[in-house]
Symmetry: C2
C-alpha cells in the first residue's frame, strides 16, 4: 500500500482551514486573561525570568505548609521591581509583614487557592470519587477518557507498592460505576466504539519499581512487570484497556520490553497499548521494530503516538553527560517525524490501533487525511488530547472525528503541581502550537504548512559557526556511560570475563623505562571474594625508591624543557589510550576495589578528563604572559616544572586520582615517582601501560608500589623530591606535610606538598526541599561505592518541619536497595574494599548504634556473607548530635548520621562544625537559602539541589580546605600552578635610545 503523500498537502491544509474555522473565536480556558491562570500565562510568556520564578514557585508550593513559609517564599520569588509581575503576587511579596500578618494570611490564601485552582484545571480529581464524577461528566459531553495516576517519583519499594494500591483503588471505584455508563456509540455493544473499551488507564512503569535503572535492563523490566501485572489483571477483569506510557529515554527499552512480556503473557487479551514519542530521533526504528514484532508474533498492538514531554530534560541530560542529543533539535523535525510514523502505523492498521495524541491542528489534519487516503477504518484510530487543555481543539476534533479521548491525570495536588508545571511549560513554550495558535494568533497558513517547509525556512540563513579554537577543541568532559545502549551493557561482563581469564599475574615495578621485579610481593584481591587474587604486586624497597627518584631527577633535566605543547600532546595520547581500553580498565576496578560499573566508568572518564583538561591548561599557562605595557622593555612571565614529584595515591578513585596527580605533574614538566595504594596497585599498573602507549620518555614516570611503613617516609624525605602530591587520610597527609617541611642535607628546594585529605560531608534538607530528589540524592551520596569517597555524604541535617517525611522516605528508600557484588549491576551497594576497611566500618557501626538510634541496618544476604566478601551493613542512625564521634570522624564507609536542626541557622552551624571543609549539599527551593548556603556553608565543593558526590573535572573543580586539604582544587584552573615555579624574563629593548615598538606597548596615545 503506497500513497503519494506529497499530493495530500493541499487537502491537509484545506482540512486544517476548515478545522480552524469550526472553532473560530474560541480560546482554551488556560489563556483566558479574565482568569488568574490566563494572566499568569500571559506574564510568563512575556517575561522569561518571571516564568522561571513562577513555575519554580508552583513547584515548591505544596511544601509550604505554614503561612510564614508561604510568605517568605512569595517574597523570595517575587519581590522584584519587575512591573510584569501580577499585582497580587507583587503585593503579597512585598507587603507580607503589614498588619501583623493578617494581610499576609489573606493574600497567601488567595495565592494558594489561585494556584491550586490552576492545577485543578488540569486534574480530573484528587480522590477517586472526584475522578469518577469527572469522567461521568466527560462522557456526557461525548468524550471518553484515559486515566493516569499522578505521582511519578517513587524512591522506595514501599512507595511503589502504594502507587500500585492507588491504581487498584481507583479501578475498584470505577468498577462499581462502569456498568451504569452507556457506550458512546450505541452500535458498539459494550464497547465505546469499534473495539474500544469504556475503561482506559495509563501507567508510568518506572513508578511501579523504585529500583529501575537502565544498566539493569532485565531487572528493571521484571521489576516493572511484577508490579504492573496486578493492575493489568484488574483492567482485564473489567474488560478495560491499559496503555503503558513512555517516560524519559532511559526507561524506553525496559518499557518496550515490559509491553512485550505482558502482551505475550496474555496473548488473547487485545487491550494493551504502548506509547512512542515522535521527538526521539529513534522513533521510526522503534515503531517499525514493534510493528514487526507484533506481526511476527501475531499479537496486534495499539500505539499512542505523542510528540514527547521531556524535551528539555533529554537535551540537558545529554549535554551534561556528553551524549548525542537523542531528540530532534528543531520542533518541525518532531512534527515531520510524527507524520512519518503516523503513516507507518496507519499502514499497519490491520495489526495496530492508532491513538493520535496531539493538539496540533496540522498534525491532526494530516492524520485524518492520510487515514482517509489509505482507507483506514475509523475504528482503527482515535484522537487524544489532554484534559483541561486546548478545549477548542477537542471540540473541533469531536466534530470531525468523534473518537476523542481525554488524557485525565488524577491524584494529590502535590504530584499534581509537578504535572501543572509541565503543562504550563507546554503552553508557554515559544514553539508550542497552542501558544502560537491561541496566544500569539499566528498566521493560519504558517500553522498549517508542511513542517518540512517550516524547517527549511528555519534553517535558512543559519550557518553553523564552528567554535573558535587553536587546533584543540574546547575541553569537554568524557561522556557518562549510557546504559540505554545495549552494547555498553554487554561490554562489561565480557571485559570482566577477559580479565578473569588472566588473573593473578606478577606485577613488576617500572623504573626508568624498565620492569623491575622484587622478592617482596603483595597480593591484591577481590573484596567480594577474597580468594580471588587480582595480581601479585612487587613491592619497592628503599633502594628501588632511590633508583626511581634518581631516574626522575635525570629525566627532569630534559623533560622540563620539552615545550608545554609537546608535553600536552603526550597527555592527549594517554587519554586516547584510556578511551580505547575503557571496558578492560573498568573490569580491573570492578574486581580489584569493588566499583559498580558506572562508577568504574566514571573513574576512567575522570582520568581522561584530567588529562584532556591539564593538557589544555598547560598550553594556556605555557604561553608566556607579557607583564606591563612599558615601551622599551618586554617582560614575560612563564612557568617551569618544580622538579621530581612523588605521587602518593589512594585506592578509592584508583585510576582517576592517580592519573590526575601524575598527569598534572608530568604535563608541568615534573617527572613522577608514583606510589599507588597497595589495595589498588593493579589498577595503578594501568598507568605504566598508558604512558608507554603515549610514548612518554623513560624516567618521566616511575611505578613504585611499596609498603607505606617501608618506603613512605623515605620517599617523602628524599632530598631530590620537589613536589609531593598526596590524596588520602588526614593523618597521613599531615604527617607528610610535617616531614616534607624539614630540609634534608643536599636538598635544593623547598618541597611543595599538595594534600587532599578527608571530609565529613553534610547535606542539609530544607523544609521546602524537593524530597523526590533529596532522598535519592542523599542515598547516592552516602552509599554509592559503599560511601568510600572523600566526598561522600556522612551527615544529613534535616530541618524540623520536614524531618519525619524525609526520614521516613529515606529509610524506606534505603531498605529498597540491593546489596551484592559490584559486578552485578542490579546491586546498589557492594562490599567495602578490604578486610581492614570492613573491620573499621564495623567498629564505627557499633559507635553509631551506641551514639544514636538505628534507622536502617541493611545487611548483605547470609549467602553473600558466607562467601567471605568484605560486606558491611548499609547503616543509617538518627539522633546524632554534632559532638558525636559519628558526626566528627571520617568513616569512609556506608554509615549515614541523621541530624535534626530547628532552623537554617542551626543547620549551617552543624554543617560547618567539623575540622573538615570538603563537600556539602543542600536541597532547598528557597532562593534565599540557596544564597545563604552558597555564602555560609563553607566547604570546598558545595552542591545546590545536587548530590555532593560525582565532581566532574573543570565543572566541579574539586578540593577542600581546613583539614580537608591545602586549598587547591584538582581539575581546576589553579591546580597546575602548584607544580610550577614562575619565572620572569624582562628584556630592556632600548639600544642607543631607540626602542622597537611592540604591540600592546603603552606608547603614545
Amino acid at each position: 500500500m503506497t500513497t503519494d503523500f506529497s499530493s495530500l498537502d493541499p487537502r491537509i491544509i484545506t482540512r486544517g482551514r476548515e478545522f480552524f474555522n469550526s472553532i473560530s473565536g474560541e480560546s482554551p480556558s488556560v489563556f483566558n486573561k479574565g482568569w488568574w491562570t490566563g494572566k499568569v500565562m500571559d506574564w510568563a510568556m512575556k517575561n522569561e525570568d518571571f516564568k522561571v520564578q513562577m513555575f519554580r514557585f508552583v513547584d515548591v508550593l505544596p511544601y509550604l505548609n505554614t503561612s510564614e513559609s508561604l510568605s517568605r517564599h512569595i517574597e523570595e520569588y517575587f519581590a522584584t521591581e519587575d512591573s510584569n509581575i501580577p499585582d497580587v503576587l507583587k503585593w503579597g511579596a512585598t507587603k507580607t509583614k503589614i498588619g501583623g500578618g493578617l494581610v499576609a494570611k489573606v493574600l497567601n490564601k488567595t495565592i494558594r487557592s489561585n494556584i491550586e485552582s490552576m492545577a485543578r484545571q488540569f486534574i480530573i480529581g484528587q480522590v477517586s470519587k472526584e475522578a469518577v464524577k469527572g469522567i461521568k461528566k466527560l462522557r456526557k459531553d461525548g468524550f471518553t477518557f484515559v486515566l493516569d495516576l499522578l505521582g511519578e517519583a517513587t524512591v522506595s519499594e514501599k512507595e511503589s507498592a502504594a502507587y500500585l494500591d492507588g491504581y487498584l483503588e481507583v479501578l475498584t471505584a470505577i468498577q462499581s460505576e462502569v456498568h451504569k455508563w452507556k457506550p458512546l456509540e450505541v452500535s458498539s455493544g459494550d464497547l465505546d466504539w469499534g473495539h474500544a473499551p469504556k475503561v482506559n488507564v495509563a501507567v508510568k512503569p518506572s513508578a511501579f519499581y523504585s529500583q529501575s535503572k537502565p544498566v539493569d535492563m532485565e531487572g528493571t523490566a521484571e521489576g516493572m512487570l511484577e508490579r504492573i501485572e496486578p493492575v493489568y489483571r484488574k483492567v482485564m477483569e473489567m474488560g478495560g484497556f491499559m496503555c503503558i506510557d513512555m517516560e524519559s529515554l532511559k526507561y524506553k527499552e525496559a518499557t518496550v520490553e515490559l509491553y512485550k512480556r505482558l502482551r505475550t503473557k496474555y496473548p488473547e487479551y487485545p487491550h494493551l497499548g504502548i506509547v512512542f514519542q515522535a521527538y526521539l530521533k529513534s522513533v521510526d526504528n522503534d515503531v517499525r521494530d514493534l510493528l514487526n514484532w507484533s506481526r511476527e508474533k501475531n499479537l496486534p498492538a495499539s500505539i499512542r503516538l505523542v510528540k514527547g514531554a521531556y524535551w528539555d530534560y533529554e537535551t540537558v541530560m545529554a549535554k551534561q553527560n556528553g551524549w548525542e542529543v537523542p531528540v530532534w533539535t528543531h520542533k518541525p523535525e518532531s512534527d515531520m517525524a510524527y507524520e512519518r510514523v503516523a503513516r507507518m502505523i496507519l499502514e499497519n492498521s490491520d495489526i495496530c490501533h492508532f491513538a493520535c495524541a496531539s493538539h496540533n491542528i496540522r498534525t491532526i489534519s494530516a492524520v485524518l487525511e492520510m487515514a482517509t487516503a489509505m482507507g483506514v477504518p475509523e475504528e482503527k484510530y482515535e484522537f487524544q488530547v489532554l484534559y483541561g487543555m486546548a478545549e477548542p481543539v477537542r471540540k473541533g476534533l469531536k466534530n470531525v472525528a468523534k473518537r476523542v479521548r481525554l488524557y485525565c491525570p488524577y491524584g494529590d495536588l502535590l504530584p499534581g503541581m509537578a504535572y501543572l508545571v509541565r503543562r504550563l511549560l507546554e503552553n508557554t513554550a515559544n514553539e508550542s502550537f497552542l501558544k502560537q495558535t491561541f496566544a500569539d494568533e499566528a498566521d493560519m497558513d504558517r500553522l498549517l504548512e508542511n513542517p518540512e517547509v517550516t524547517l527549511r525556512r528555519q534553517l535558512e540563513g543559519k550557518c553553523i559557526v564552528p567554535e573558535a579554537n587553536e587546533g584543540l577543541a574546547r575541553f569537554q568532559n568524557y561522556p557518562i556511560v549510557d546504559f540505554t545502549i545495549a552494547e555498553e551493557r554487554a561490554a562489561y561482563p565480557e571485559a570482566i570475563a577477559r580479565l578473569r581469564s588472566s588473573l593473578g599475574k606478577k606485577i613488576p615495578l617500572y623504573i626508568n623505562g624498565k620492569d623491575v621485579e622484587t622478592s617482596d610481593m603483595l597480593d591484591s584481591y577481590n573484596p567480594a571474594n577474597p580468594e580471588e587474587v587480582i595480581g601479585s604486586v612487587c613491592q619497592a624497597g628503599v633502594g628501588e625508591v632511590d633508583d626511581a627518584v634518581e631516574a626522575a631527577s635525570k629525566a627532569y633535566l630534559t623533560w622540563r624543557d620539552v615545550s608545554p605543547a609537546e608535553r600536552a600532546e603526550v597527555l592527549l595520547k594517554a587519554a586516547q589510550y584510556l578511551k580505547d581500553n575503557i571496558h578492560d580498565l573498568c573490569a580491573v576496578q570492578i574486581l580489584e576495589v569493588g566499583k559498580q560499573w558506572e562508577q568504574a566508568q566514571a573513574d576512567i572518564g575522570e582520568a581522561i578528563d584530567f588529562m584532556e583538561y591539564y593538557a589544555r591548561e598547560m598550553i594556556r599557562l605555557g604561553k608566556p604572559r607579557r607583564m606591563g605595557h612599558a615601551p622599551g622593555e618586554m617582560s614575560h612571565l612563564f612557568y617551569q616544572g618544580k622538579g621530581v614529584a612523588a605521587v602518593i595515591a589512594p585506592w578509592n578513585f584508583p585510576l582517576a586520582i592517580s592519573v590526575g596527580m601524575v598527569s598534572a605533574a608530568i604535563v608541568s614538566g615534573c617527572p613522577v615517582v608514583y606510589k599507588p595504594a597497595g589495595i589498588s596497585s593493579c589498577v595503578g599498573h594501568g598507568l605504566v601501560k598508558m604512558w608507554k602507549a603515549a610514548g612518554l620518555p623513560d624516567g618521566v614516570f616511575n611505578y613504585c608500589p611499596g609498603r607505606g611503613a617501608v618506603v613512605g617516609d623515605h620517599l617523602v624525605d628524599h632530598p631530590d623530591v620537589a613536589v609531593i602530591a598526596f590524596t588520602g587520610s588526614m593523618e597521613v597527609g599531615l604527617r607528610i606535610q610535617e616531614r616534607a617541611a624539614k630540609v634534608q642535607p643536599g636538598q635544593q628546594q623547598c618541597k611543595k606538598v599538595i594534600a587532599e585529605m578527608g571530609g565529613k560531608n553534610a547535606t542539609i534538607i530544607d523544609d521546602d526541599a524537593d524530597l523526590d530528589e533529596a532522598v535519592l540524592g542523599v542515598l547516592y551520596s552516602a552509599f554509592g561505592f559503599q560511601g568510600q569517597k572523600c566526598s561522600a555524604c556522612s551527615r544529613v541535617i534535616v530541618l524540623d518541619a520536614i524531618y519525619d517525611r524525609f526520614v521516613e522516605r529515606l529509610t524506606e528508600a534505603a531498605k529498597s536497595v540491593k546489596l551484592g557484588p559490584a559486578e552485578n549491576p542490579a546491586n546498589y551497594m557492594g562490599p567495602v574494599v578490604d578486610r581492614a576497611a570492613q573491620e573499621n566500618v564495623l567498629r564505627y557501626v557499633k559507635i553509631a548504634e551506641e551514639e544514636g538510634q538505628l534507622l536502617v541496618k541493611l545487611e548483605a544476604s547470609a549467602d553473600l556473607r558466607a562467601t567471605g566478601g568484605c560486606y558491611v551493613p548499609l547503616t543509617i542512625v538518627e539522633k546524632i548530635a554534632k559532638d558525636h564521634r559519628i558526626a566528627q570522624e571520617e568513616v569512609f564507609g556506608p554509615i549515614l548520621a541523621v541530624m535534626r536542626a530547628g532552623d537554617m541557622d542551626e543547620a549551617l552551624d552543624i554543617a560547618n562544625s567539623t575540622r573538615f571543609a570538603l563537600t556539602g549539599a543542600i536541597y532547598t527551593r528557597s532562593p534565599a537559602h540557596l544564597e545563604r548556603a552558597a555564602n555560609e556553608f563553607r566547604v570546598g565543593n558545595l552542591y545546590l539541589n545536587k548530590p555532593s558526590v560525582g565532581a566532574m573535572v573543570e565543572r566541579h573543580a574539586f578540593g577542600g580546605f581546613k583539614m580537608s586539604g591545602v586549598g587547591s582544587k584538582s581539575g581546576g584552573p589553579d591546580y597546575l600552578l602548584q607544580f610550577l615555579d614562575p619565572r620572569l624574563v624582562c628584556e630592556n629593548t632600548i639600544r642607543r635610545g631607540f626602542a622597537p615598538i611592540e604591540e600592546g606597548d603603552d606608547w603614545l596615545s
Copy 2:
C-alpha cells in the same frame, strides 16, 4: 619689535621653493642606492624588523673582534627568510660555514668594511690628524666647522679624565694648524665672519663628569665645570668658540647651570654657547629664562637651537617611569616650537647670537625670512648642519646664507657606531624631513607648509578613545621620582628636617584598634649616626601576640565576607595616604635604614603599587568564575580568605615588602598580625597610620613588633594562624616552614607559608655586551643601598674575551663613587643598616680577600668612620671560583665577586650553581645568547641588558625558587591565590525537567 609673522608664510614658502629648485635633482649621499649605505637605508625604510636588526648589529659591530664572533652575530641577526635583506648580508648569514671559513672571512671583511665606511661617512676622522685634514678640506669648500669628540658614556672619573685629555689633544693639533687657515670672509680679520672664531668645539658635559645625576644638581654642575674649564681655557687661549651641547633632559638643568657659571667666571670672553632642544615642551621657558639672565647679567649669549635627538629615549623613559612625556608627541609641534623660539632668539639678537641647526628647508626658510623681516644683522645668525648628512641642504644653504657650519664628530669608531645608529635612525624615521624630502619625494608644498597646518591635518579625525575600564583605570606603576624637578629635590631635606624635630618618640603596639604600650622597649637608630635614635619601639611579648591573634581571628569572621570590591577600596585609600605623605615617609627610611633618596621613594612607590595592583587583582579574582558550560547547572568558582595571616617582614624594603604582604592578606580577607623587623619598626609603624587613614576596621591589622627570640616561634606556632607571609633570610624562612607544618592542638587548617628568602645573584657579561650599560648596571645592582637587597648582584660572571676591558672599567667606575650618609644625595653608597650588619659584612670582606684577589676596597673617609656610622668598604674581588664561600653564601652587603668564564656554557653553569634562584642578569647583544639565557639562566627574575634590581610591581613580578622562596611572585597574578581558599558552588538548575537558559550554556548549536 613686533612683526606680523602670519604674513610671512607666503614668503617662507616662496623662499623654500627657490631653495628646493636650487638643489633640484640632488640627493644626500646617504640615500644613494648605488652605494652600500644607500641600499641599507632603503631596506631599513621598507622593513621595520630589518631596521631594528640592522641598527642593533651596527651597534654591536665594534665588539666583534674575531671572525667567529662576527660570523655568529651575522647569522643571529640576519639568517631569516626575509627577501628584503641585502644579499651580501643574507649570504653572509647563512653561508658562513662554507669553504672552511674562508668564504666567511672574506664576507665578514666586506661587511665590516662596508659598515665602517658608513660610519666614516658621518665622522670627520678617527685621530686628530685625520680631523685636521678633514677640516681643511671643509674650509676649502667654504664651510666652517664645530668639532665634537665622540664617546658619550663615561662610567668612571678615569674615563672622564681621558675624555678631557682627548679634547686637549685635538685642540693642540688644531692649534698648530689654525694659523694657516684663512678666514672664510676676508673682511673678518682673524675671525671667519662677523665675530665667529675659526676654531669651534662642542662639548657634551655629562661625559666630563662620571658622577652626574639630577638628584645632585649642584654636585653635577660643579663636577662638569671642573673638567670642562680646562677645555674652555684652551679654547680661549686659541681664541676659539665653545658650545655646550644639550644631552638628555636629565642633565638639562645642570648643563644650563654649567653654562652660567662658566660664562660668569669669564665674563669678558664672549665665545661661549649653549644648545636648546625645540622638541622639549619646556623650550620656550628655558630659552626665555636664559635670554633674561643674559640681559640681566649683561653677558651676551650664543644659542644653537636644534630639534633634539633623544625623542625615543625621552618618551620611553617617561613612559617607563610614569612621568609626563616631556617632548612634543607630534613632529609638527617641534617644528612650530622651533620657529617660535627661533623668533624669540632673533628678537634678542642684540645680546644673543643664533645658530640655526636644522636640515628642514621649511625651518631654514622661516628663520631666513624672520631674520630678514626683523632686520637682524647677518653676522648675528648662522646655520649648522651635520657632517655627512643632507649635502644638498648644506649646498643650498651656502648659496643663500653663506654662514654654514658643519657639526663634525671625531673619534674612535667604537663610540662612532653609536653615533652612526643615531644618524641612521634620524634618516630613516618616518617623520624625518630628510627621508620625506629625498627618499619619499614628498610633495614640496606639503614639506613647506606651516607646521601648524600640518598638525591640524594630523589631528583631524583622530579621536581619543579612552581606555576601557570598569570604574578603575588599568594598573599603572607609581612614577619614579623625577629629580629634574627642583621641588622634588627640595622636599627631601625639608622632610628630613621635620622628622629630626620629633625623633625618639615612644612607639606603641597597635592591637584591635588600640595603642598598647609595653615595658620592654627597643631603640631604632640612624646607621650613619648611631647616636641618633629614631624611635623607642614597644616590644610585644607572648601575651600581646596572643591578643593580636585573637583580635584578628575575631575580625576574620566579618572581614572575610566583606566584598572584594570593598576590601579593594580600603587598599586604594591606603595607597592615597602614602601618596599624600610620600616625602615624610621617605625621610623615616632615609634616617632609620639609610636609604638613598631615590631608593626610599622607590620603596614607598612600590608599596603604593602593591596596593593599587592587589586591589585590582582582588576585584578580578573576586568575580566568581563560571566553570563548564553544561546547561541545567550553574557552577561558580570563587575564593575565600584563609584566615589570620602572620606577616613577618624584613627591614631592607621596610615599607614596600611590609605593605605588599600585609595588603595582599587584607585584601584577600585575611586579618593580619604584623611583626616588622626590629631595625625598621618606625617605618613599620607607618602602616598603623596608613590603615587608620584608610578606615580599616579594628582588628584587621595589628602592629606587633617584638624580639624574634621572644615571640617569633610563638607567632608561627599559633594554632589560629592560617597563613604566614615571610620575607627574610633562608635560615629563618626554613625554620618557619618547618614549624608551621606541625599541626598544633586546636588548629583548624593546614598553615600556608609564603616565604621569600635569599639570593646569590649573578650577572653575566657576554663578550659583546654594551659595556657602557653593563658597568653601570652591575655597579648599581651590587652597591645600590649598600647591596642590601635580596635581588642585589653579588657575582659578576665575565666572559674571557671581554674580561680585562670590563674589569678595568668596573674597577674604575667603582672607585669613582662617593661614600657617605644616605641623606646627602651626592653619595652613591651609605652605611649598612646596623652594627650587626656591619660586623657580618666585614667578616665576609675578610673571607673575600682570602678567597680571591682584591680589586676594589673603597672605604668611607676617615672622618665619616670617626662618626661611628656603620660603614663597610665597597668591595670587589676577582679570581673567585664557584665553590668559594663568597660565591655561595648570601652576604647582604656591598661585596661583589668577579668570576671568569671561558664561554657561555660555563657562564650559565656558574650562574646556576648556587642553592638560590632569585634574580639574575645578562648583558649581551647576541640574539642567540639572549634566548639561551631566557631559557637556561634559571632564576625567578632574569633581566636582559638590565640591572637585576629594581623590580616593579606587575612588570617584574618578583620572587624566586629553589632556596630563594616557595615559588610565588609578589606583585604578580598568582600572588593573592596564596591567601585564598577556592570554593565552588554548583547549582542544579533543573526543576521538573526544565532548565532556564543561561548565557554561555552549551545548549544547542
